[in-house]
Structure formats: structure tokens, C-alpha cells
């Protein structure tokens, strides 16, 4: 156990390193490049209306989290427990918004829903903006996380317990509450937390939709070369997030759940007309806003380019770079997530809580600030060495800093899926194995790892997809490695209003993700 604690501590150290870098930077703030006086925290809070922004950020993330849990939770239930035409295809399609960058979904939704757009004209909508649209878009983007995590937990819920409850006279609803909900609580809590962190750290969608939240102002501060102010706002974001972790723990339940080996799934039920209509509506909403609209919009851009005979850049190198970055990044981040997930799921609570919080702490920070924090940390480190400049060049040029960036940014996502899987290991099997004289390694190899496979797959999938569409960290830290990903292409071409080329890269990006999602789901079913 001490080895896993040591590894967990090392991971936590890596995760908080950008924070340390930022804090050291805050302690010795450089003069403002525009000669403006450095503002105190109070002045800054007043000038930027930080409290109002803070309130908006909390409102947005709570709404997103609630929306994602309701939508994703229901879709997970429908996928695992209901029987309706098109279930398998729709369930898979509903996971695809995982692949859509939030800014792209927001941009296409904003165009389609505003006057002049086809949905906007059809329904006669006024121009949409603000918190609630951002909440809708982000909830759609986050719902698949919930569907995936809760679905994995549902798949491991034994039918026996529900049937026992039913045979003792409980209604289906009561049976679900008594026998199923407690088993889902860790998955629900963690996926709610992930949605929360996603919404609070997202700035792409809120920027496109002109939604005044904390991350938006923070980004403006980075753009204005006011890193100390951005750091202060970042700390404010984290201060908001900390109590959310506590809430997460409360929902989560006090004690690790006991899992069951080889659970037998219950019979699927045919839903009633209302439930069926609701399920189709949800599928339609998630698939429509999260996938169909971006695909149709980008397809339109590409078609426009073909009609006007505009030149397209060859997408192959960008595709290769994207796959390389996502594969290596997901592998390293997944490996890093193992020890903290193990400790958090199985160690005594006194150790588990700080490990978990350290792991999740920085995920509330937007990528651009994390990347700059890592740069600051790497600079501190290399300045303490004899040939500092060479050390810094090696750290950035070798991709170490980039991979650290991916790990810090996405550890929470890998961690959540792994932890839920580890929590569901059946302790009785472990006890039996030990009683029968099996070594710990053998138990791990023959019992634990096969049982963990779906969770590991889910974790790897989430990480791979997250890195696939990642932009700010790749931009700031990937340049030194010469990395130009598809997400970079979309951003680069969209910025210059070359929609046809942005559309092509965007469609390939979505296509790649589609392959990954479908392949992983198929593999998951075979386990």
C-alpha cells in the first residue's frame, strides 16, 4: 500500500506544480507591460465585477451539472435497462458529443438558433445569448460523460438485489432507490463533479455565447499580459470549486461500495409511451445539438469550399499529430491516474480525501492558465540548475511539459472512471483468493484486472477524446514539439474565416472520435 501512496503523492505533486508556479509568479509580479498600476485583490474584484462573475460561474456550472446528470443519467438507464427500437444505435450516437469541442458546438448552435439560422428562422427565435444557452450547450457536451460513467456502474449492478427488493414488496421505483441508487452514487457524484469542473473551466462556449463568467475574465487577463490578475481569478475559481468537492463527497456516501463479481443484468423493460417519447426527445436533443448540427454546419462549409473551388490544406500530417498526441497523452495520464484512484478508492479515508482533492483541484483551471503555470514551474526548476536555459529548452522541446499539461488538465477525467471501477471490485473475491493462497499479484492479474477492464476502457476513452479536441495546452506547450493537431487546424482556419478548411479538419476530428467511441463500445460489450 505504501508504494501506491508514494506514487499517488508524486502524482499529486505534479498536479499542483502549475499552481506552485503561479503562486511564485504572484509573489514577484512583473511590472505591467502597459505601465498600469498593479491592482490589489480588492480593486481587482471591484473592477472586474468578480463577485457577479463568480455568481454566474457557479450558476452556470450547477445548471450544467444538473442538466448533464439528468440527461446523461436517463440515457444511461435507457441504454442499460430499457428496450426500444434503435436503442443501441441511439445510445452510441448520444455518446458522440464527447468528441465535439464545446466552442464548436456553441458556435454552430449560436448560428443555427439565431435569426438567419435555420432553426432560428423555423421557430422565429430572437437572438439567443447568455447563461442559459451556454448551460444547454455545455450540458449536452457533458451528458455523455454521465451516460458513460453511470452506464458502466449500471452494467455492474446485480439483478439479484433488485429482484430481492421486488420480492419483498417494493415497487419498481422503490427497488431502484433501495438496490440500485446506492450503487450508482459514486458514478453519479463523480460524473456530476466532472461536468461541474468542465463547465467552470470551459471558456470556449462561454466566449462564443458572450456569457459573463469568471473564466472569460481570466482569459482576458491572460490576453492582457496580466498573469498575476489571472492567477488571482484562478484562485477564486478554485475557491469556488473546493466546497463542491465536499458536496461531492457527501453525495458519494461515506463508505466504499461493495461490488459483486459477474453480476447478472436484470431483464430490459419496455418503456411506457411518455417515457419513450422523453427518451427519444433526449436522444434527439443531445445528438442534434452535440453532433448533427456541428456536422451539418461544417459539411456546409466544406461544400461551400468545393463549390467555390477553394484550396484545402492536406489534413494527413495534422491527423497523425493528433493521433500521436492523444495516444501518448491518454496512456501517460491514464497510468498517472491509477495510483491516486487506487488510494482514493481503497485506502483509509484520512489519506484518500487529500489525494482525491489534490487530483481534482487544478481541473477547475482553464487550460491556458495551467499551461502558463507549468511554464512558470519549469522556469523555477531550470533556474535552480547550472545550465538553466538548456534544461528549460529540454523540458519544452522533449514534450515533457506538454504531456504534463495533458496530465494536469485531464487527470480528473481518468481518475473518476478508474475510481468508480476500483470501488466496484468485489472484496469477497479478494478475500476468497487470499484464503485460497493466491498471491496479491495473482489476484490482481486474474481477478481484479479483468473486472477493471471496462473502467480502464472508459477512462482511456475519455482521456483520448479529451486530448483529441484539446486546444489551449497544445497551442502553448505543443509548439515546442512542432505539434499541429486537427484542433489547431480548426482554430487556425476558423480564426482567419477560412471556414471550408476549418470544416474539413473539424469533420475529420469528429470522424476519428466516432471510430474511437464505436470501437471502444464494441470492445466493452465483449468483456
Amino acid at each position: 500500500m505504501s508504494a501506491s501512496r508514494l506514487l499517488a503523492a508524486a502524482t499529486a505533486l505534479l498536479v499542483v506544480s502549475p499552481l506552485v508556479g503561479l503562486l511564485v509568479g504572484l509573489a514577484n509580479p512583473p511590472p505591467d507591460p502597459f505601465g498600469m498600476p498593479q491592482l490589489s485583490l480588492v480593486e481587482l474584484m471591484q473592477r472586474s465585477r468578480a463577485l457577479e462573475l463568480l455568481r454566474n460561474s457557479v450558476l452556470l456550472s450547477v445548471a450544467v451539472s444538473a442538466g448533464a446528470v439528468v440527461a446523461g443519467g436517463w440515457l444511461a438507464w435507457a441504454e442499460q435497462r430499457l428496450d426500444y427500437p434503435g436503442r443501441s444505435v441511439l445510445a452510441t450516437l448520444s455518446l458522440l458529443p464527447l468528441a465535439s469541442p464545446s466552442y464548436l458546438v456553441a458556435a454552430t448552435a449560436a448560428v443555427a438558433f439565431s435569426p438567419g439560422g435555420f432553426v432560428g428562422d423555423l421557430l422565429g427565435l430572437p437572438r439567443l445569448s447568455g447563461l442559459w444557452i451556454a448551460a444547454l450547450v455545455l450540458a449536452v457536451v457533458c451528458a455523455p460523460y454521465v451516460q458513460l460513467l453511470v452506464g458502466a456502474a449500471l452494467a455492474r449492478c446485480p439483478a439479484a438485489e433488485e429482484e430481492a427488493a421486488r420480492s419483498l414488496g417494493a415497487s419498481p421505483l422503490q427497488a431502484a432507490r433501495i438496490a440500485v441508487l446506492p450503487r450508482l452514487r459514486p458514478a453519479i457524484a463523480l460524473s456530476a463533479l466532472i461536468s461541474l469542473l468542465y463547465a467552470i473551466s470551459d471558456f470556449g462556449a462561454v466566449a462564443v455565447l458572450d456569457c459573463p463568467v469568471l473564466t472569460w475574465r481570466l482569459y482576458e487577463a491572460v490576453k492582457g499580459q496580466q498573469l498575476p490578475q489571472a492567477t488571482l481569478l484562478g484562485l477564486a475559481v478554485m475557491a469556488v470549486t473546493l466546497p463542491l468537492f465536499v458536496v461531492g463527497r457527501l453525495v458519494h456516501g461515506a463508505r466504499p461500495q461493495r461490488g459483486t463479481a459477474n453480476p447478472r443484468p436484470p431483464e430490459r423493460r419496455r418503456p411506457g409511451a411518455a417515457a419513450l417519447a422523453g427518451t427519444y426527445l433526449l436522444h434527439g436533443l443531445v445528438i442534434g445539438i452535440g453532433v448533427a448540427l456541428p456536422v451539418a454546419t461544417m459539411g456546409g462549409w466544406v461544400w461551400g469550399g468545393i463549390v467555390r473551388d477553394l484550396p484545402f490544406a492536406s489534413p494527413w500530417l495534422a491527423t497523425r499529430d493528433t493521433l500521436l498526441a492523444a495516444l501518448i497523452g491518454a496512456l501517460l495520464t491514464g497510468l498517472l491516474a491509477v495510483s491516486p484512484a487506487w488510494v482514493a478508492a481503497r485506502d483509509r479515508r484520512a489519506v484518500a480525501v487529500p489525494v482525491e482533492q489534490a487530483t481534482l483541484l487544478t481541473s477547475a483551471l482553464p487550460g491556458v492558465l495551467l499551461a502558463l503555470g507549468l511554464v512558470l514551474a519549469a522556469l523555477q526548476l531550470s533556474r535552480s540548475m547550472p545550465d538553466g536555459r538548456a534544461v528549460y529548452a529540454a523540458l519544452t522541446g522533449s514534450g515533457v511539459l506538454l504531456m504534463a499539461g495533458y496530465a494536469v488538465r485531464f487527470l480528473a477525467e481518468g481518475f473518476a472512471a478508474l475510481k468508480t471501477a476500483i470501488l466496484q471490485l468485489d472484496p469477497r473475491q479478494e478475500e476468497s483468493a487470499r484464503v485460497l493462497g493466491a498471491s496479491r499479484a495473482r489476484w490482481l492479474r486474474q481477478i481484479a484486472l479483468p473486472a477493471l477492464a471496462p473502467g480502464v476502457a472508459a477512462s482511456g476513452l475519455l482521456l483520448f477524446l479529451a486530448i483529441l479536441k484539446e486546444l489551449p495546452v497544445t497551442l502553448l506547450l505543443g509548439g515546442a514539439v512542432g505539434l499541429k493537431t486537427l484542433a489547431f487546424r480548426v482554430w487556425d482556419r476558423y480564426n482567419e474565416a477560412l471556414w471550408h478548411d476549418a470544416g474539413l479538419s473539424g469533420l475529420i476530428l469528429l470522424g476519428l472520435s466516432l471510430c474511437v467511441v464505436v470501437a471502444t463500445l464494441r470492445w466493452r460489450r465483449h468483456v
Binding site: P33, G116, D210, V368, V375, R389, G397, G479, N495, L498
Partner: protein, 335 residues
């Protein structure tokens, strides 16, 4: 740290354009010239490839958003691997210059660009320009368009405008307005335009499309997005103010500079010189629809020539005076 100072002391001084490249035995000679490019790969990537072949200088281009790259450079300080910064907005070059991060460029190099379009102290040089214009829906008769930028404050434009206060060019233009009109007048104008409830966009380009679809009647943008979009039947066009020196007629520069302390100053200056030479300047004009900064290069036939723009007299330092502009925009709740 000591070795670093030593390196800077040895190799940092500005040298002439024709100075020999660093000694072959110097370990730094093998590494490419690192360029932080805030200009998109789609705009300049091809040019860099041609340049590498023609000059025989290896470059490593790291693309990003100009403000973020400048923040990165300021953060990295003396450890920055960047030799050249290629900024989308000259204001950010001003910020770097103010912090002593930029080397003074070779005088011969500066002579090749229009003196109006470079730093007064020779620390950066403009490579191409974009004109600030109005983009309007062509259903709107041209004689009803505002005759001056000031007219956007007229209540008759209520609900018909678009702007992008977070955009770099917007903020640089407002910085110029603060110096042309004064603080109070600029503040009053911004307040009045804001009262017209313009649609807020995150950047310039969507305004062009919005003017075409009729979502807005008038947007406040840079000129070159329209030319990318324009086809037969496109219902948006650009408009510059007819009055000589109207505060709305301002040219925004993209520019290049060499980092103070770079060990590759001669090669870096060769790269910049190449960007100011005729082929690259023609490419900016013809392929990107921009204004070249080298005198005597023709603009794209669809783009009005620079002398027809009736530009306001603007000092480059004004465009870099972004701090008070951001404070003003924040005070007014525009940002």
C-alpha cells in the same frame, strides 16, 4: 544563470545584415531560428516554407494567439527560446518593447518599410496592414451610411450594429480614439454606441457573415475578411469614411521583432528582411488581401489602394496604449 548571462553578453549584440552567420563550432548554430507566430499558419505557413528554401535558414514556427504568445514570452523572460515574434497586432509588440524584451533592428532593414508603419524607436517593423472599416448589408443604401465613425452613436442605429470589444484590433482602435478624441469624448462615444445595443461578437469575422445574412446592418471590422467571403450575390460590403483623416480610418499592423538577447540576430533579421521584400509583400497583398508595408507594392485589385483610405494621423505608440483602454472598457461594462 551565470552561463546564461555569459551567453547573452557574447552573442546578444545587434549586428549588420551582411554579418557572417555564427561560427560553425558554436553549439547554437545548429538549432533553427524560433518564431512565435501570432499570425495563423494559413496566412504565413507557406511563406515560411518558401523562405527556408530560399535563405537556407531553418525556422521553427510556433503558432498561437498573439496575446498568449506575448504573455508566454514575458513569462519566459531571458529563458525564452523565441528569436522572432510575429504579432497579429502591433500593440502587443509595443507591450514587449515597453518591457525591454525587443532588440533594436538594423537601420537598413527598417528603411525598406514605410516609416509610418514601424516603431519610432526601431524595435519592431510592420509587415502588413488591415484597414478598420464598416461592413454593411448592401440592402442599406450607401448614402444612408454613417459619414463618420462618430455617427455610430446616432440612436437611429439602435439594434442594427455589431462589434467585438474583446478583439485586439477593436481595442487598439479604441486606444487610438482615446488619443485622437481624448478620454472623455471616447468614453461618451462608447457609452452612446453601447446604448444602441450592438450585437457583441467574440471576433471580427462572424460580423461579416452577420451583415450578409442581415442579422446586423453594420459591423465594425478589419477589411480583409470580406474579400475571403465575397462571391457574386454576397450581400455585404466594406465601407471607409469619406472624410479626410476620419478617426474611423485607421490601419492596424501585423509586425515582426527580434527578442533582445536572441543569439540568432543576423539570421532573424534576414528572415524579417525577406518578409519585407517584394515577393512576400506581394503575397500579403494578393493572397491575404492585406496592405503591404513596403512602399510601391500594389494592393489586390478588389482592395481599395492605401492612398484612397484617407487615414487618420495615428502614432504607433497610441495603438499600444492598451492598459487604459481595457480599464475604460471594463468600467463601461463592455468587457
Amino acid at each position: 544563470m551565470l552561463s546564461l548571462l555569459f551567453l547573452v553578453a557574447c552573442d546578444g549584440g545587434p549586428e549588420t545584415l551582411d554579418a557572417p552567420t555564427p561560427r560553425a563550432d558554436a553549439p547554437e548554430a545548429a538549432r533553427p531560428v524560433v518564431i512565435y507566430s501570432g499570425r495563423g499558419e494559413s496566412l504565413v505557413g507557406g511563406l515560411f516554407e518558401t523562405m527556408e528554401a530560399e535563405l537556407g535558414i531553418d525556422v521553427e514556427v510556433r503558432y498561437g494567439d498573439t496575446p498568449e504568445l506575448v504573455t508566454l514570452m514575458l513569462t519566459e523572460g531571458a529563458e525564452s527560446p523565441a528569436d522572432i515574434i510575429f504579432a497579429q497586432d502591433s500593440g502587443h509588440l509595443g507591450a514587449l518593447a515597453n518591457r525591454g524584451m525587443l532588440a533594436t533592428l538594423n537601420g537598413d532593414l527598417l528603411k525598406t518599410a514605410d516609416p509610418r508603419f514601424q516603431d519610432a524607436d526601431g524595435r519592431w517593423v510592420g509587415t502588413s496592414g488591415r484597414a478598420r472599416v464598416l461592413v454593411y448589408n448592401t440592402d442599406l443604401p450607401k448614402d444612408q451610411l454613417p459619414t463618420s465613425l462618430k455617427d455610430l452613436a446616432d440612436p437611429k442605429w439602435k439594434g442594427k450594429l455589431g462589434w467585438a470589444p474583446g478583439n485586439g484590433s477593436f481595442q487598439a482602435h479604441v486606444s487610438a480614439l482615446r488619443h485622437i478624441w481624448g478620454e472623455d469624448e471616447t468614453r461618451a462615444w462608447l457609452t452612446a454606441v453601447a446604448a444602441n445595443e450592438p450585437v457583441v461578437y467574440p471576433k471580427n469575422s462572424p460580423q461579416v457573415e452577420a451583415a450578409h445574412t442581415g442579422a446586423i446592418q453594420i459591423g465594425w471590422v478589419n477589411h480583409y475578411y470580406l474579400h475571403r467571403k465575397k462571391t457574386d450575390g454576397y450581400k455585404a460590403d466594406n465601407y471607409s469614411f469619406a472624410a479626410e483623416g476620419d478617426a474611423g480610418n485607421v490601419l492596424m499592423l501585423a509586425g515582426m521583432a527580434v527578442r533582445e538577447g536572441s543569439e540568432r540576430v543576423p539570421d532573424a533579421e534576414k528572415v524579417i528582411a525577406w518578409m519585407l521584400a517584394e515577393p512576400a509583400q506581394n503575397a500579403f497583398a494578393i493572397e491575404n488581401f492585406e496592405y503591404p508595408t513596403r512602399p510601391g507594392i500594389k494592393t489586390h485589385p478588389d482592395v481599395p489602394p492605401i492612398d484612397s483610405l484617407k487615414l487618420a494621423k495615428v502614432e504607433q505608440a497610441w495603438l499600444a496604449d492598451l492598459g487604459p483602454t481595457r480599464a475604460m472598457l471594463q468600467d463601461l461594462g463592455l468587457q
